[in-house]
Structure formats: structure tokens, C-alpha cells
């Protein structure tokens, strides 16, 4: 009998514990692209269409875009109506209008050099009312970019929406937030209360295809998550907007989601170009990026405060205590970006 044994010893092994770090990659031959970002919906409102150049990566700040001024911007419907958009600031074109459900709309943008850009006509679909917004608190732990373990509580909002049977809907949720902020500092004589507009869903993309579920109710679909912190100490008001878009737009956001969620994992799709609904009629091969959205809209407000979140106490930012750090905004809350001293009329006392 022959027995052969292998004993592996002293092996230091961190199999599959991959590491990620930043490297320099030489990118050349980059060219700017014309980009369009615009939306119209079925509520009477001022709508904006932004015309700009995409930012070349590695040159300056990727988030600052070169505006394209002097364009003639119009939105047209299938009934021959036309709405002129006027340049309010460089690259931003605005008009007050209201879309009508069932009609088809497109935009036509003629640049100063004569280049004509058109979007594919899209039908405006009605958005069913949001039945209910619910909130949930979850304790999570994760590893941050620096590799540290972090534990925090998050607030997640979910939407429940009933939609007509046999209807295929493509929905997207967005949330706007305003929170109440109380000044406090040691030996304060008088303190103010500010109402701060909060960009709660920045880079948050939540879309939904009703064909993926059974029945005709979307049950508590989570759509935005934010950290449970001082913003909820008094009251946080969410304005939830539910957009009903076309299937083509849904596919656009789906690919946007693919592109922005690429994280180097095994299952990453090879990246490609996100194709929007815009084209240059003079040169169909030129790639115009961005999207002109035609959507139905329905809205609902949700108030989150310690009571509605079932919290005994949520620590505010500012204290009168000398033993706590005093942040500058605790002495003057109007220094916070997008803050306002006027209480919104919808505010629950």
C-alpha cells in the first residue's frame, strides 16, 4: 500500500481578497460631445433644457460643463404646437408649459453653427398616483473607501403604487428633501430655524418595470436611502416624484445604471456608449449624449421626524453645551447651502 500525503503548512493565504487601488491610465484622443439634459411633464411648471459639452476626463473638473449658448430650443407636439425655450443662463433654456397625456413631444435644438439636434418623439404617459410612502430604518455595516468598517443607521423610503391592470408602466422615483435646522450654541441669546433644501437623491437612480411583477400593485418598493442623522432631528419633508416614462427612456436609464455601477467585478459588462434619444440630423453618425424626457408625473409628500420614524431621540447638529463642538452653521444657519428662513406652507408644525 502506497500512501502519499501532502501537508501544506505555514501558508499565508488571502485567496480572493482582492485589492483595489487607483492607477494612472493614459487617455488620449478624447473629444467632447454635445450633451442635452431636459425634461417636460404633464404638470404646469417651468421646464429646463440644458445644452452643453461633455467634460473631458482628466482635464479640469469633470463636473463642470462648458455651456452651449445661443441655441434655438423648441419643444413640439404632434398637434403642431410649439413651445419656445429661452436661454436664462448660459446653456440653460427654460419655458413654462404643461404637457398633455397622450400627446407626443420632441425637442428641436438648432445650435449657432446650424447643427440641428432632434429627439425621437415620445408619447406622454400618465403616472398613476402614489398610494403610500413608507419609511424603514436599517442598521448596516460596510467597508468604506479607506477600508474601515463603518456601522450606521439608514432611512429608506419605499413607494406603494397601484396601477391599472394590463398596463405596462415604466416608472422612476425622485425625491427632493427639505429639513428643519435649529441653531444652538453656548450662551445664545436668540436662535433661528432654517429650512434647508437637501439634494437627497443625488446620483440615486431608481427605475421600475411593472412587467417584472405579478398583479397590479408595486408593494413598498424602496427608492431612496439616506443616513439617519441630524437632518431628521426635527423634521425632514420629502417630496416624492414618480415619473411615468416611455420604454425607450427606461432602457436609457437602465444602461446609465449599468455604466455607473461598473465596479471592476467579475460580472461587469464591457462598458459601451449609452445611447440617448437625440441625434444630429445633419450628421447621423455624430453621437449626441443625454436624454430629452417626456414623462407623466405624480407626487406625494412624506414627513419624517423622530415620531414617525419611531425614534425616541435623534441627535441634532447643534447644542448649547460648551462641551460639544460648535459648528459655524450652528451660529448662522443661513450659511448652509440652499437654506431659507421662511417656513414652507406645507410644513407640519
Amino acid at each position: 500500500m502506497r500512501l502519499q500525503k501532502y501537508v501544506l503548512g505555514l501558508s499565508i493565504l488571502i485567496l480572493l481578497s482582492s485589492c483595489i487601488d487607483e492607477i494612472k491610465l493614459d487617455i488620449d484622443n478624447a473629444t467632447q460631445r454635445i450633451a442635452i439634459d431636459g425634461l417636460i411633464a404633464d404638470s404646469l411648471d417651468t421646464y429646463t433644457i440644458q445644452v452643453f459639452q461633455s467634460a473631458i476626463i482628466g482635464v479640469g473638473n469633470d463636473n463642470v460643463f462648458e455651456p452651449i449658448s445661443g441655441a434655438s430650443v423648441k419643444v413640439l407636439d404632434d398637434q403642431g404646437n410649439s413651445f419656445d425655450f429661452v436661454e436664462t443662463e448660459a446653456g440653460f433654456y427654460a419655458a413654462e408649459m404643461q404637457g398633455i397625456v397622450g400627446r407626443s413631444y420632441h425637442t428641436e435644438i438648432i445650435l449657432a453653427d446650424g447643427t440641428t439636434i432632434q429627439s425621437t418623439p415620445a408619447q406622454l404617459n400618465a403616472s398613476p398616483p402614489i398610494k403610500e410612502i413608507t419609511s424603514k430604518i436599517e442598521d448596516i455595516s460596510f467597508t468604506d473607501v479607506g477600508g474601515n468598517a463603518v456601522a450606521q443607521s439608514n432611512v429608506t423610503l419605499s413607494a406603494t403604487t397601484e396601477f391599472p391592470a394590463n398596463e405596462e408602466l415604466f416608472l422612476r422615483w425622485r425625491a427632493l428633501g427639505v429639513y428643519e435646522f435649529h441653531e444652538a450654541y453656548p450662551m445664545a441669546i436668540s436662535t433661528k430655524v432654517c429650512y434647508v433644501q437637501n439634494n437627497v437623491d443625488l446620483n440615486n437612480l431608481k427605475i421600475f418595470d411593472t412587467r417584472t411583477i405579478d398583479g397590479n400593485t408595486i408593494e413598498e418598493e424602496p427608492f431612496v436611502t439616506t443616513k439617519l442623522d441630524y437632518r431628521f432631528a426635527f423634521q425632514y419633508a420629502f417630496l416624492v416624484r414618480q415619473y411615468a416614462m416611455t420604454e425607450a427612456e427606461y432602457k436609457y436609464w437602465e444602461t446609465v445604471n449599468d455604466v455607473i455601477s461598473i465596479d471592476g467585478s467579475l460580472f461587469d459588462p464591457p462598458p459601451g456608449t449609452v445611447r440617448g434619444n437625440l441625434r444630429n440630423i445633419n450628421d447621423p453618425n455624430e453621437e449626441i449624449v443625454g436624454y430629452f424626457s417626456v414623462s407623466g408625473i405624480s407626487t406625494k409628500r412624506f414627513f419624517a421626524n423622530p415620531q414617525s420614524l419611531n425614534q425616541v431621540f435623534i441627535e441634532p447638529r447643534c447644542f448649547e453645551s460648551p462641551f460639544r463642538p460648535t459648528f459655524p452653521e450652528c451660529m448662522d444657519c443661513t450659511t448652509i447651502l440652499n437654506s431659507n428662513l421662511d417656513k414652507p406652507d406645507y410644513w407640519i408644525p
Binding site: M1, R2, L3, Q4, K5, Y6, V7, L8, G9, L10, I12, I14, L15, L16, S18, C19, I20, D21, E22, I23, K24, L25, D26, I27, N29, A30, T31, A35, D37, L39, F52, S54, I56, I57, D62, N63, F65, V145, L202, N203, T212, I213, D214, E220, E254, T255, G264, L266, F267, D268, P269, P270, P271, G272, V274, R275, G276, P284, E287, V289
Partner: protein, 799 residues
């Protein structure tokens, strides 16, 4: 009578020849006597124990005369009088060579000595000058020494990792499933283990292969010329043979490691007639993953096992029958987000029959199944996605040695594939995911083949084959018809066709010529030319940069034509110093028609009209391979360099359908420069040092060149044309130092190997991705899978 002739088996597969032994000189009779039939007989025994060696093989080196020793070790070789080179071989023993001059009946007993330690992998050795004299260019047979000297991860020798040290063989990176041969995709390799077709040869994301290292006998890779008996893949054939179980005595081999353990048991069922070998492996990575600081890794799980079994029965001196099969299972979970598993179950039976002295027949039947599942275990929409391919394969081959200079092989083969391309099911009652399932697809591939081997004098050998293949896409299925003037999409469907069960939907037929010519300039120099055409009727559909275990297999059908490759290669082989230095220079060129590519962001899962997300184009690959091997002496060196390109072109009527505006662009595995080096030093009688270095150009990637915002999404990258940039170059140094063997008596042996994988902590990128943190610029980030050094100590002992 050549009773124990097993011509088929050994004429093709057995290259077991001498290595360092002195030649035995035998001379019987008077050379002036008339030519006649003479008989050489005697015993073949173990040199040290005098045990007889049943089934030892004695043959002339041209394989024309054969004999196999019977149960008592007796052999009888009948041959025409003359001068021969004899080879006497037995599994696990060093092959003995003898110079035989025979003009009358004679008797002689041969003594064989137990071979070099077979170690973890047993691979038969090829003839010293095989590289020069064989007619097919680009056959790689890995020897045990070559395998053992290659890089070891965690002290483990692995067949697939070792293959990547061969010129022309590469992979997309550490952790990629499969390998790429001469610019071909991973799905273009035909992989067999004992006649079992293998769809996915890897365990644990590609860190290990599923070939049980204690059971492998022989590894053959055809990267250039492919014999006519193989078909259905474009790039290469990897044929792994397991060894037969010991017909005399039982034995156990095993290994215990920190991450995996293995065991193999073998022995006779009926002594000298029926033997078995059965082996299994299992992994336990989890405790290691639990040590990681990274929470995602901490919450991950990985597990695999495999079970391999083989039974061989000698029904009569001319009939052999056997079974070989295996079952494997892999599970992998990353954090609490995604989990997948995959498994292979396959079995094959064979029957070999020798008829007369010159004909043998070989029948093979294989049935197998590969299935994979992807689980989404996040949140409320938990789901499971399954796909599966079932296959059955039957082949019949006959070999006829017409005369000394001409032999013929004919055969037929049929493959049936049933693909279940996708089934989505909710994981629990609370999940709101809708169950969905695509209908099964069926395909049948039938091939007839013929191969002639002809020697024209001493210099020229020609291997000319032809394969005729009929592929049928079979119902029941529904086929959509599209408006031909616009790109295919769901919206351009104009009609559909219904086909009943087993009704032929469409068929594709074609001839696949195979040609290999060797011109021997002299004993040390030869030139080889190869041309072969192949078709491929099913491909792995993957829209990830590297192949993954859960990729779907897509059969050719009404809309998807079979891919076709034409391969050309010319090689110059030159040996020096009595074949101890072997050099080779090969040029290759390959074209691929009807190559399958994907549209950007193709929807491949559960797509009932997948043809709308596929693109068809052309591919080409070309390159130059140079290799140098010095395999004797204190300092041994194996070095090779490959320059190659792998390019694709997708031209369509609209920009949306073309890739990179219809220009040629590099494939995902286009790595122009690859250099491999293996330096082995016998530092003393009992110690040796092995140094491995590998370098390759970084693989292509598509990088963002600009960014824009859309709605509340601040920065959406705009990508370059496909694969216009490259990730950083790959290079790595591994060393291993072995002390031993010592205590070599009564079969006991000890040795210690100290090895370090990735000595200088190179963070080789598996992939590069681009991300943007809020209000910061987009940055390139690399993912290094094995980003640090991995030292290991292996203690081997045997008794």
C-alpha cells in the same frame, strides 16, 4: 501471433520513451540470413523486486510491431528479421530502449526500474526528438517535470496554470475561467477528459482546474494542427487522459492542505483484468475568507468538490472496455449580494477492439450535463437564474495500418446538445420576482472523417484529413422573422415560424480539410506546415470582459450561423546537442467568419430573441512564437516569446450595429507580447531551485474619455471605441526551492518544497474600472486579485 496488440491506443497516445538510460544492445543471429519472421520472447520484470509486469508494452519505435506482456509478465514479439529500436514501457516505470538486431528466434528478459517520482501529476514523456519528427505542428505534451516546475499557487500544481506557460496560450488574468489559445476565445477550446466533453474546466473562479492531479496521466494540447477526429471548436483541443487503476494491488494517495484536500484510491476488481481508480477533492476556503478584514470578503463563501472514477476491463486479449466519469460542484458567494453555483456531471464508456494485426476499432459514448445558477440574494426580489446544457456524444473510429508507410483512420461522430438557456424563479414566497423560462434549444452535430498518414521516403510525412459536418438546429421552437432592411430588434419582428419536436429548423453543412506536412531536413531540423478549417456550432454567450462560470451556451440556429475558422501555421524546428536543446519558430495566421459579438449593454439573460442583441463579424489572429528549451544538465531553461494579435471587425449598415465604426479593434484577450521563462537549477544532488517569470502586455479595455450629467446623475461616462486602451502590463515572478528527496529506501520518500507565488508583490490588474466619487474627477482603479506574495511550504512524503 500478435495477441496482445493494442495498436490503436499506443500508436496515437503513447509517446512514452526513454529519457536518460543507457541503451541495451541486443544481437541475435546472422545478419546475412534470409529475411523471415522471427520471434523474440521472454519476461518483463521489475529490476529491484523481480515482480513481473503484466501489460508492459514492448514495441518497435515505429510502432509497427507490438506486444503486451501477459499476466505473468511474458511477452512474445513477432517481427520480421532486421534491425530495430525497441521500447519497453510500463506505467510508472522508466521506459527502456534497446537496440535489437534479430535474425533468428531469441529470448531475453527485460528489467524495468521504477520511474522518476511521479509526484502529483503523472504525464507520459514524449520522445526526445518528437518536436522535430512529428508531423503535426503545435502539439504540446506536458511532461511531469515541466508541470512540476511551473508556478505553484499555494503549493498546488495545476494543469491549466501550467498550460499557460506554453507559447501561444494565455488567459485574461488571474481569476479568469478558461484559457485562450492563439488569440481565440475561451469557448473555442475542445476539452476532453477520457472522452468526457468538458464545458467549464475550472474550479473556484479559475484558480484551480477540475483535473484531479493525482489521476492525470497525460495532457495533450493541439494548438496548431488538429487531427480530423476532433471537431466542433475553432482554436484548440485539450485532451486529458487519466491513468488506469493498478491491476495488481490497492493503493491510496492523498493530500491535506489548508484550503483543499484530496484522496485517490485504486486497485484491482478482478486481478489483471479489471481495475478501478476513484478520486475526490474538496475545498474549505471559508475559514480563510473569514479572516479577512474586508467585510465583503468576510461575508463571502467559496466551496468546491469533485469526484472522478474510472474502471477499465480487459475482456479478452483484443478487447478492452471501460468507464470514466466525474461529478463536480462549485459554489461561490460574494458578500450578501450575489451567489452562484455550477456543476458538471458526465460519464463515458469506451470499447476498443483489435481485429487481426492491422485494424483496431474504438467506440465511445459520452453523456453529460453542465448547469449553472446565479442567485440574487439582495433585498426583497431574491431570485435564482438557471441555465443548463445536456449533451450526448457517440463516436466510432477505425484505424488501419495499410503498410509501413501508410495508415488510415476513419470514423463518425454524433453530438446532441440540449440547451436550457434560462429559467428565472423567485427564491422564496415573499419575492415579487416573476418566474420566467425560455424554451429549450436543440442541436445535432454529425461528422464523418477520414485521415491518411503517408510517409514519402524518410523526409516527408503527410497527414491529410477531411471532416464533413452536418449541423441541424432542431425543434420544437418558434423562430422570429425580422424586417431585413433595418437592425433586428423586438420591434422589427414581422412574422414567426413554428417548428415541431425534432423538426429540422435549419441545417449547416461543410467540409473541414486538415493538412499537416513535415519535411525533415535532417535529424535535427524540420519544417512543418499546417492548415485546418473548423466549425463551431455553439458558443459561450458572455458580456463580461472575462468568461465566467455562469455564461450561457448558445447553439447555432436560424439566425446564428456557425462560426468558421481557417488556421495556417508554419514552423521551423531545430534541435542542438543531441536533442538536449530544442528550438522552434512558428508563424500562425487565423481567420474567423461569422464571429459572434455583442451590442453594447446586450441583454443576454432571458432574452427570447437573443439574435437582436448579437452582432456578427469577422476575426483574425496572427503571430510569431519562438521557444528555446534546454532540458538537461545542472542549469535548465525553458523560455518562449510570443508576438500575436487578435482582432475583430463588425461592420453593419447602421452605426448602432457597428462596433468602433466598423474598424478593426482588439479582442478582449489581445495581448501582443508574452514572455515566459522557467529556469531550473539542480543546486545540489538533493536540492533544486525553480524560477518562473511571466510577462504579458496588458489586455485591452474600453475607457471613459468624457462625462456628462443627466437629471440627478452627476456624471455619466462616455466611453472610447471598444478596447482602445490597455490595462497595465502583467508580470510576476515565482520561485520554488525543493530539498529532497531523502530517506529513499523501501519506497519511502520525503521532500520539502518552499514556494513563493508573486515574489515582488506585483499588483497585477484583473480589471480596470472607472469610478467617480461625488464631486471628484473620474479615476481609473485596478482590481488585483492576487495582489501580494503567497508563500507556501509543502511537505511531501510517501510510503
Amino acid at each position: 501471433m500478435l495477441k496482445h496488440l493494442l495498436l490503436f491506443l499506443f500508436s496515437f497516445l503513447w509517446f512514452s520513451m526513454l529519457n536518460a538510460q543507457e541503451k541495451v544492445q541486443l544481437s541475435f543471429g546472422d545478419a546475412n540470413a534470409e529475411t523471415q519472421e522471427v520471434r523474440l520472447y521472454g519476461k518483463i520484470i521489475d529490476q529491484s523486486t523481480n515482480e513481473t509486469l503484466p501489460e508492459a508494452i514492448i514495441s518497435t519505435n515505429n510502432k509497427l510491431y507490438y506486444a503486451i506482456a501477459d499476466e505473468k509478465g511474458n511477452y512474445e514479439l513477432i517481427l520480421r528479421s532486421g534491425i530495430y529500436e525497441l521500447e519497453i514501457s510500463y506505467l510508472g516505470y522508466e521506459t527502456l530502449s534497446a537496440q535489437l538486431t534479430i535474425y533468428e528466434d531469441a529470448t531475453y528478459d527485460f528489467q524495468l526500474s521504477e520511474g522518476v517520482t511521479l509526484g502529483e501529476v503523472t504525464v507520459s514523456q514524449k520522445k526526445k526528438d518528437d518536436n522535430v519528427t512529428s508531423s503535426i505542428a503545435g502539439i504540446e505534451q506536458l511532461s511531469i517535470e515541466q508541470l512540476e516546475r511551473q508556478s505553484k499557487l499555494l503549493g498546488e500544481t495545476d494543469v491549466l496554470r501550467s498550460l499557460q506557460s506554453i507559447s501561444g496560450v494565455s488567459s485574461t488574468g488571474e481569476g479568469a475561467s478558461g484559457f485562450n489559445v492563439r488569440g481565440g476565445n475561451t469557448d473555442e477550446n475542445l476539452i476532453f477528459q477520457d472522452g468526457n466533453l468538458i464545458m467549464n474546466p475550472v474550479h473556484a473562479l479559475g484558480f484551480f482546474s477540475l483535473f484531479h492531479p493525482d489521476m492525470v496521466d497525460q495532457v495533450t494540447l493541439y494548438k496548431g494542427g488538429v487531427p480530423a477526429k476532433y471537431g466542433g471548436r475553432l482554436s484548440s483541443v485539450l485532451d486529458v487522459r487519466l491513468r488506469e487503476g493498478d491491476q495488481q494491488k490497492f493503493s491510496i494517495k492523498g493530500g491535506v492542505g489548508l484550503a483543499t484536500s484530496r484522496l485517490a484510491l485504486e486497485g484491482p476488481i478482478i486481478k489483471n483484468k479489471v481495475s478501478f481508480i476513484i478520486g475526490g477533492r474538496a475545498s474549505y476556503f471559508d475559514w480563510i475568507l473569514k479572516q479577512a478584514d474586508n467585510l465583503d470578503v468576510n461575508k463571502s463563501e467559496a466551496f468546491f468538490y469533485d469526484l472522478t472514477a474510472k474502471v477499465d476491463a480487459r475482456l479478452s486479449p483484443t478487447t478492452k472496455f471501460g468507464f470514466s466519469g466525474f461529478a463536480t460542484q462549485d459554489e461561490f458567494q460574494f458578500s450578501d449580494e450575489v451567489k452562484f453555483d455550477y456543476s458538471t456531471t458526465t460519464g463515458a464508456v469506451y470499447l476498443k477492439q483489435i481485429i487481426g494485426e492491422k485494424i483496431n476499432l474504438n467506440a465511445n459514448l459520452n453523456i453529460g450535463s453542465y448547469q449553472s445558477s446565479l442567485f440574487d440574494i439582495r433585498g426583497t426580489n431574491q431570485s435564482q437564474f438557471n441555465n443548463q446544457i445536456d449533451y450526448a456524444r457517440a463516436s466510432l473510429m477505425g484505424y488501419y495500418q495499410v503498410n509501413d508507410n501508410y495508415s488510415l483512420e476513419v470514423g463518425a461522430e454524433q453530438n446532441r446538445y440540449t440547451v436550457s438557456p434560462g429559467k428565472l424563479s423567485p427564491l422564496d414566497e415573499n419575492s415579487s420576482i416573476l418566474a420566467d423560462e425560455l424554451p429549450q434549444e436543440r442541436g445535432q452535430e454529425t461528422a464523418l472523417f477520414l485521415e491518411n498518414k503517408l510517409n514519402l521516403g524518410d523526409k516527408i510525412e503527410i497527414l491529410a484529413g477531411l471532416r464533413y459536418t452536418i449541423y441541424q438546429s432542431l425543434g420544437a421552437d418558434q423562430v422570429f422573422l425580422y424586417d431585413e432592411n433595418v437592425p433586428k430588434s423586438e420591434l422589427t419582428i414581422i412574422d414567426s415560424l413554428q417548428f415541431g419536436a425534432n423538426e429540422t429548423i435549419i441545417d449547416y453543412t461543410g467540409f473541414e480539410p486538415r493538412l499537416a506536412v513535415r519535411y525533415l531536413i535532417n535529424e535535427q531540423n524540420s519544417i512543418k506546415l499546417n492548415y485546418n478549417r473548423s466549425f463551431q456550432f455553439f458558443s459561450q454567450i458572455s458580456n463580461t470582459a472575462s468568461a465566467t462560470p455562469i455564461d450561457i451556451w448558445q447553439l447555432s440556429n436560424y439566425h446564428i450561423r456557425p462560426q468558421r475558422a481557417d488556421n495556417f501555421s508554419v514552423g521551423y524546428y531545430r534541435n542542438f546537442q543531441d536533442n538536449s536543446i530544442q528550438t522552434n519558430l512558428t508563424l500562425f495566421y487565423r481567420t474567423i467568419q461569422d464571429l459572434i459579438e455583442y451590442k453594447d449593454f446586450a441583454q443576454l439573460l432571458l432574452n427570447p430573441h437573443i439574435e437582436t442583441d448579437l452582432l456578427v463579424g469577422e476575426g483574425r489572429a496572427y503571430g510569431l512564437e519562438v521557444s528555446f528549451t534546454k532540458s538537461t544538465g545542472k542549469h535548465q531553461l525553458d523560455a518562449n516569446y510570443t508576438y500575436s494579435r487578435s482582432l475583430r471587425q463588425i461592420v453593419a449598415t447602421t452605426t448602432q450595429e457597428s462596433v468602433s465604426n466598423g474598424n478593426w479593434y482588439p479582442s478582449n484577450f489581445d495581448k501582443p507580447h508574452i514572455f515566459n521563462l522557467n529556469y531550473f537549477i539542480q543546486t545540489s544532488e538533493k536540492t533544486n531551485l525553480s524560477i518562473n517569470f511571466t510577462y504579458s502586455t496588458g489586455r485591452p479595455t474600453t475607457a471613459p474619455v468624457s462625462a456628462y450629467s443627466s437629471g440627478n446623475i452627476l456624471s455619466i461616462p462616455v466611453y472610447s471605441e471598444r478596447n482602445q486602451y490597455r490595462i497595465p502590463d502583467f508580470h510576476r515572478l515565482d520561485v520554488a526551492y525543493t530539498i529532497g528527496p531523502w530517506g529513499k529506501k523501501a519506497g519511502r520518500e520525503n521532500s520539502i518544497t518552499l514556494s513563493i507565488y508573486n515574489v515582488y508583490f506585483r499588483k497585477n490588474a484583473f480589471s480596470v474600472f472607472f469610478r467617480q466619487l461625488p464631486f471628484q474627477s473620474i479615476s481609473a482603479n485596478r482590481v488585483a486579485v492576487l495582489g501580494s506574495a503567497f508563500p507556501a511550504i509543502t511537505y511531501n512524503f510517501k510510503f
